[in-house]
């Protein structure tokens, strides 16, 4: 019995180191496996980084292309806008010339059947209050151009008078809103910035579809800045950037937002 116990002790004593060796080997395998995994992860990470860099470069390139396209679009928009305005001006001028010819009696205005025809004598304007014939009203283009010429040479009061007269006599032409815009410009030229702001407010209120709105908004912003009301000016600039993002006025508004 005692021998058996001694044998068992001997076996146990010899078996323990063998088991430790196995554990050690297992651990080594595991470490090797882990090292492999880490290397693999590092490799994949490097690959990912390269891919990330490639993608970043690609995005930057795409952004640049997009920006260029956007700029080109803006530039084209600006050129198209100028051309459209020019075309509109020319059409308006032709219509005005036709109107002037009709007034002169050279071209009969289309008349609805049954309409009573009235004769007009001379070119004077009859004052409804007195019934007297006053001074003749200049043709629309003449009146408008004269008012602008007065603006250009700094005769702002005369110019305001001319543009106001234009709006009174020709309240529904393609240039009526322009005349209101120019009144703002005249007041701005006179350094009467608060009055200029009001003139442009009138433009926005009375002619909400005027093509002068983007420019008028930016000019109003500039007048507000002159009055020391920059925070209100910023609102005007942001409005133009949001509402008319491709207009030339928006470019200037952006510059004003980030001086």
């Amino acid at each position: 019995m005692r021998r058996i116990a001694l044998f068992a002790l001997f076996v146990m004593a010899t078996a323990l180191p063998a088991r430790a060796d196995k554990d050690c080997q297992r651990m080594q395998v595991q470490v090797t496996a882990l090292q492999g995994q880490i290397a693999d992860m590092q490799r994949r990470s490097a690959d990912s980084l390269t891919e990330l860099q490639r993608l970043t470069a690609l995005i930057a390139e795409q952004n640049a292309l997009l920006q260029r396209a956007l700029d080109d679009g803006r530039q084209q928009d600006e050129a198209i806008l100028t051309s459209m305005r020019d075309l509109g001006d020319r059409v308006s001028r032709v219509i005005e010339q036709l109107d002037a010819l009709r007034i002169a009696g050279n071209v009969a205005a289309p008349v609805a059947p049954g309409t009573a025809l009235t004769e007009t004598e001379g070119e004077g304007v009859i004052d409804p209050a007195t019934g007297e014939v006053g001074a003749p009203v200049p043709a629309p283009r003449e009146l408008y151009s004269q008012a602008y010429a007065d603006f250009a040479r700094g005769n702002y009061d005369l110019a305001i008078q001319g543009f106001t007269e234009y709006m009174t006599h020709y309240p529904d032409t393609d240039f009526t809103d322009n005349a209101q815009y120019w009144i703002g410009e005249c007041l701005y030229g006179k350094k009467q910035y608060a009055e200029a702001v009001e003139a442009w407010n009138t433009l926005f209120r009375v002619y909400p579809s005027s093509d002068k709105l983007p420019d008028g908004r930016v000019k109003k912003g500039m007048a507000l800045e002159r009055l020391g009301r920059r925070s209100q000016a910023l609102v005007e600039y942001r409005y133009v950037v949001d509402r008319y993002p491709t207009s030339p006025a928006a470019r200037i508004a952006r510059e004003r937002l980030n001086p």
């Binding site: 050129a79 151009s145 040479r153 700094g154 030229g189 470019r251």
Partner: protein, 449 residues
């Protein structure tokens, strides 16, 4: 340019000193009378009698100065085309003039309404000129002035007297103004160059401004007449330079272009605070403005078309420029912040190089125009009527108009017989004449103060 004043600059400085001395012409003390009437232009043209200047001393130098003063004063007054003049044959019929006691009946008899009497004396190399203007009908003195200064250039005394007489009208005289221009007269076979020059408005007294042997073009006066902005290729790339002509100093690359970007066609605002110019720094030729010292650059136009050659309105509120945004080069106007762009010209298939009249009386823009196929002509568009009038016709190619400071005259360059010369006309296109500004091809005039 070197920092120390070169001989040309020193000469210019001396002239400036003279100009200042003469400009301080004082009212005559012996018989001072306040001007009582204005010469009204319109209706009957006033008829002037400008008899020979009377020398106070009989020496030849004073007599020569007097002859020059008479001739130059007559030419200056005639140049404005505002007055009639008693012909020389009738002047000779008048008994000898006593400058202190003119017999107005004599002058009435030959139809004169305005009598201009000048006297001159030279002492210690100083010339003194007295000028009196009388209203013949009443015998009243309208103007009495005395000028004194160095005697070497009597012309400037006559110019000053003429400008003072013009103050009696509603127009400003231009007799003391100068014209800057580009010329190849000092170019050699070995070295092609273009330099800037200045002459008096009548073509006399030419002076060279740039001396760098490169190509210097497109001069533009500052409103105070102290500086010229211009384009120079001396750094290969065209850049805007500033010549402070009376200091003999030059400021390079005023608009601070970087890399290969170029700057062209500078133009001072009427208050002298800003310079408008064309630059391709954004990758395309656009209109920019900067403060006169080059700071605060601001891009005004951004279309893909080339926008060039800006010019300012007399108030400085607007800028006209050339753009080919709708195909052919045409003139456009915008406000000085880049807003409100409109097309100005429609007649002609190539319109360029605008010059906005500085006069308050006339609202008009001159420009180079190709109205038909072939050469270029000078045209003026009236902003009030939008009518275009052609200033030149059949004089060869003409370009680069510039207004006299009173808006009553234009200068431009015309090519005749393969030579370019500065030519002058009045604003209606009458009285065209080539200015004798010297040899070479003389182009791109800019009429300064």
């Amino acid at each position: 340019m070197p920092s120390s004043a070169p001989p040309t600059a020193r000469a210019l400085l001396a002239l400036l000193v003279l100009a200042v001395a003469v400009a301080g012409g004082s009212p005559l003390g012996s018989a001072p009378q306040e001007p009582v009437e204005q010469i009204v232009i319109g209706g009957v043209t006033p008829r002037f009698a400008v008899p020979e200047c009377v020398p106070r001393t009989p020496d030849e130098r004073t007599q020569q100065a007097c002859r020059t003063i008479t001739q130059v004063l007559r030419n200056d007054l005639r140049f404005e085309r505002l007055f009639q003049f008693v012909p020389d044959s009738l002047l000779a019929a008048v008994p000898p003039l006593d400058p202190d006691n003119p017999v107005f009946e004599d002058w009435q008899g030959i139809g004169a309404r305005i009598l201009v009497i000048t006297r001159a004396s030279i002492a210690n190399d100083e010339l003194t000129v007295e000028a009196r203007v009388y209203f013949v009908d009443s015998g009243q003195t309208m103007l009495a002035r005395r000028y004194s200064g160095p005697a070497h250039n009597p012309r400037i005394f006559a110019h000053q007297a003429s400008d003072d007489i013009m103050t009696l009208t509603q127009y400003k005289g231009v007799a003391r103004t100068r014209i800057a221009f580009t010329s190849d007269r000092d170019s050699t076979a070995e070295k092609q160059s273009k330099e800037l020059y200045i002459v008096d408005y009548d073509g006399f007294n030419p002076r060279r401004v740039t001396v760098n042997g490169s190509v210097n073009i497109l001069p533009a006066w500052s409103p105070d007449g102290q500086s010229l902005a211009y384009v120079s290729y001396r750094r290969v790339t065209p850049l805007v330079f500033l010549a402070r002509i009376f200091e003999g100093k030059s400021v390079p690359n005023v608009t601070a272009e970087r890399g290969n970007s170029q700057a062209f066609a500078p133009a001072f605002s009427p208050d002298g605070q800003k310079i408008a110019y064309a630059s391709n720094r954004s990758g395309n030729m656009d209109i920019w403005v900067a403060n006169a010292d080059g700071s605060g650059t601001q891009q005004l136009t951004t279309t893909r078309a080339a926008d060039t050659a800006p010019c300012w309105s007399p108030t400085g509120q607007e800028i006209a420029f050339t753009s080919s945004r709708t195909g052919t080069p045409q003139l456009y106007i915008m406000s000085n912040d880049g807003l409100n762009v409109r097309r100005l010209t429609r007649v002609g298939n190539y319109n360029d190089a605008c010059a906005w009249s500085p006069a308050r009386q006339f609202s008009e823009v001159a420009y180079t125009s190709r109205l038909q196929s072939g050469g270029f002509d000078i045209a003026v568009i009236d902003l009030a009527t939008r009518q275009v009038r052609q200033i030149t016709r059949g004089r060869g190619s003409c370009e680069y108009p510039t207004w006299a400071p009173n808006g009553r005259h234009l200068a431009f360059s015309c090519e005749q017989r393969e030579t370019w010369a500065i030519t002058i006309a009045d604003r209606e296109g009458l009285s065209l004449k080539r200015l004798a500004t010297g040899p070479g091809n003389n182009v791109q005039p800019d009429w300064g103060p």
